[in-house]
């Protein structure tokens, strides 16, 4: 794509604070030391300028310093890995990379659909978009799914120090991004999963991850323990 004199040097990330794939990219960039100006985009309004950047109408979008536009968290994560060569967040060996990507897809497809998206929609976006009252049946179902997902993560952490391997990777970032939103809404029973709780305490003590925990959205107050690594 074209170099653009005007935008040269200004890296921008279009995001929304209550969407897990945006959190994942923000944390990955912070871990890599790749800074960006954060621009909050109300994706649901589908502004023409937003759709011109990403016709899919989805976040996040990265406009890199040379004007290059990279759309969606899959393309952005792989682009950061291939273009910046800082750390090995997608993994070092073929096996580790397959495992990281399996768990990133678990987070951004399966967990999104079964847990995070229904919870965020029912508890936050429905009100924001004036689409009626929360559906308590859907919330109950998503919370039941969350118990299953947490049990699976607990099993993984009994075998490994981190989610995908014995190293901190994008799998940890992706899954913690989802769990942080569930936690914000008060839906996580940490006490039932001690390995997961210890892992999440480590996540919360990382400066790159702490930064996303300072975000607040109107109308929902996170629980007391939300930002505290000792919880």
């Amino acid at each position: 794509m074209n170099n653009n004199q005007e935008s040269f040097g200004v890296r921008r990330l279009y995001h929304t604070p209550f969407y897990p794939a945006c959190r994942k990219i923000r944390v990955m960039m912070a871990e890599m030391g790749v800074s960006a100006e954060l621009v909050e985009e109300p994706a649901w309004e589908q502004r023409p300028q937003f759709l011109a950047m990403n016709p899919a109408g989805e976040l996040p979008i990265l406009i890199d310093g040379d004007g290059r536009c990279v759309c969606g968290s899959y393309a952005i994560a792989e682009y950061l890995d291939e273009g910046y060569h800082v750390g090995d967040f997608i993994g070092t060996t073929l096996d580790e990379r397959a495992e990281v990507r399996r768990l990133v897809a678990w987070a951004d497809t399966k967990m999104l659909k079964e847990v995070t998206q229904p919870l965020i929609y029912e508890k936050y976006f429905r009100h924001l978009r004036k689409q009626g009252n929360p559906d308590s049946g859907k919330i109950r179902q998503a919370k039941a799914h969350l118990v299953y997902h947490m049990g699976y993560f607990e099993q993984l952490l009994k075998q490994r120090s981190w989610m995908a391997s014995d190293r901190y990777t994008l799998a940890d970032i992706a899954l913690a991004s989802h769990l942080s939103l569930c936690d914000y809404m008060g839906d996580v029973a940490w006490k039932d999963n001690s390995y997961l709780k210890r892992w999440y305490a480590l996540m919360k003590s990382r400066p790159a991850f702490r930064a996303i925990l300072t975000d607040r959205v109107r109308g929902i107050k996170p629980p007391e323990h939300y930002e505290n690594p000792d919880f």
Copy 2:
């Protein structure tokens, strides 16, 4: 992962014929000349042996010749690209790779959700799983979305020879995998999109792609033109 003497040399792909992400991987492997024994897996039955391979309960799953298990079409496509070094299906430059991945995500997230999944469910899986009669409202809505998606692809092909660039890439394979299923169900109005029709004729004349068009599922007969590159 471990070498497994028993399975050494036997590469297996677990798939189901009526799922676009499985078609994508089958075509990509055929284009790369990476052969595999195809094993049809009724994913909806969630067999314990299947869940042991992929706890997410999703297809496709690749068991490589050395016993390595790679789950999900995202991890498999990237694994084939990184592990086999045949062709450049994900692209050669950072820009091309970002564009290929944007469109792969378009296919396997946006188009799946808005078009292919509802059509496949209402017209095929609902009957297979004995879940009542098709919801004609959902079919109508998915077909309206398909018109929008096809219009977008037509615009892309007015600017480029192939979907992501001037080369044939995984973006073409991913989008054609979805369109082939819509076409099987008789839902594609080719005549309204001449660039897209010409592109799809080229897709149908590729031996790697033709192979998936010979699949048939019980209870649905594809239209006359389905396999024919001159349509």
